[in-house]
Symmetry: C2
Subunit: 136 residues, 2 copies
DNA sequence: TCAAGACTGACAACCATTGTCAAAACGTCT
DNA sequence: AGACGTTTTGACAATGGTTGTCAGTCTTGA
């Protein structure tokens, strides 16, 4: 995931945001805005697609959800469990995700950037593979 | 970038492919299909947009160009300099790119995946920052 | 309770990317 | 050179995720 830390502004509590929050809480793995929208519709709590996008974007800006791009370039979201920066090990087939902390990598990235004079550094790191269950 | 190694099939030599190749050779940094298409048009050697996409895809499949997704989710391409797997340090502002080899990271990613029973592992790692020139 | 302003939703607009398919270009074989 | 089977091209339509619009609705603080 991409590193980012921003102040969290205040937002109004609405039925729609609560609904999105709820789904995120119940969802272990990364989910796209479209999927989230379908889920909401399926469970009766219909929320406009645009609203879903806006809500996710807001959450992402506040650092309350992780965002990453699937191989297809689609943005997928997930409630951020750890506060600190971390990465993901994602199953290519079922999407099962493991959060990974990699202090080594953090330091390495930082030092590489420094060596080349790059400032204000952030990085993206995701590992993809096939999980044990999908291999059975 | 994403790890991948495939056999390189034969393709016909055409004016369009040559033109794309030429631009790639002259371009240091990552470029999007759309930009490449504009460049070609600008220099007179017009090539259909669909053809640009197809050509880039073919090159990517053959491992002759690197592909990665910009923050905006747009696919960007670049002639692959090193043969082996590597990563990139990309300037967030001007796109200037440095290729990075990170054996440490490779091993780390592999071991993490192993620990969790994930097989057929690949990974993505890009570092973003502001290059010295853009900071001046 | 009220007013100000944030939020929502239906829909249009965007835009990168892919599909389609007839016409043109290649490479090869004579 | 000429013919022929294939591959490639390009103009255009179609797709699909994402964002913009804007009038109507809901929250919140006073």
């Amino acid at each position: 995931m991409t590193v980012r830390q921003q102040p969290a502004k205040e937002h109004r509590r609405t039925r729609q945001r609560a609904a999105v929050d709820e789904v995120l809480d119940e969802t272990e793995d990364f989910i796209s805005a479209q999927e989230l929208h379908s889920l909401l519709r399926a469970r009766g709590a219909g929320v406009g697609l645009a609203t879903v996008y806006r809500t996710l974007q807001t959450l992402a800006d506040d650092g309350r959800v992780d965002v990453l791009r699937s191989d297809a370039g689609e943005a997928v979201y997930r409630r951020c469990v750890r506060e600190e920066h971390h990465h993901h090990l994602v199953c290519r087939s079922c999407g099962a995700t493991v959060e990974i902390a990699g202090p080594t990598v953090e330091r390495w990235a930082k030092s590489v950037a420094d060596q080349h004079g790059y400032a204000d550094v952030s990085h993206t790191l995701e590992i993809f593979g096939t999980c044990p269950r999908c291999r059975a």
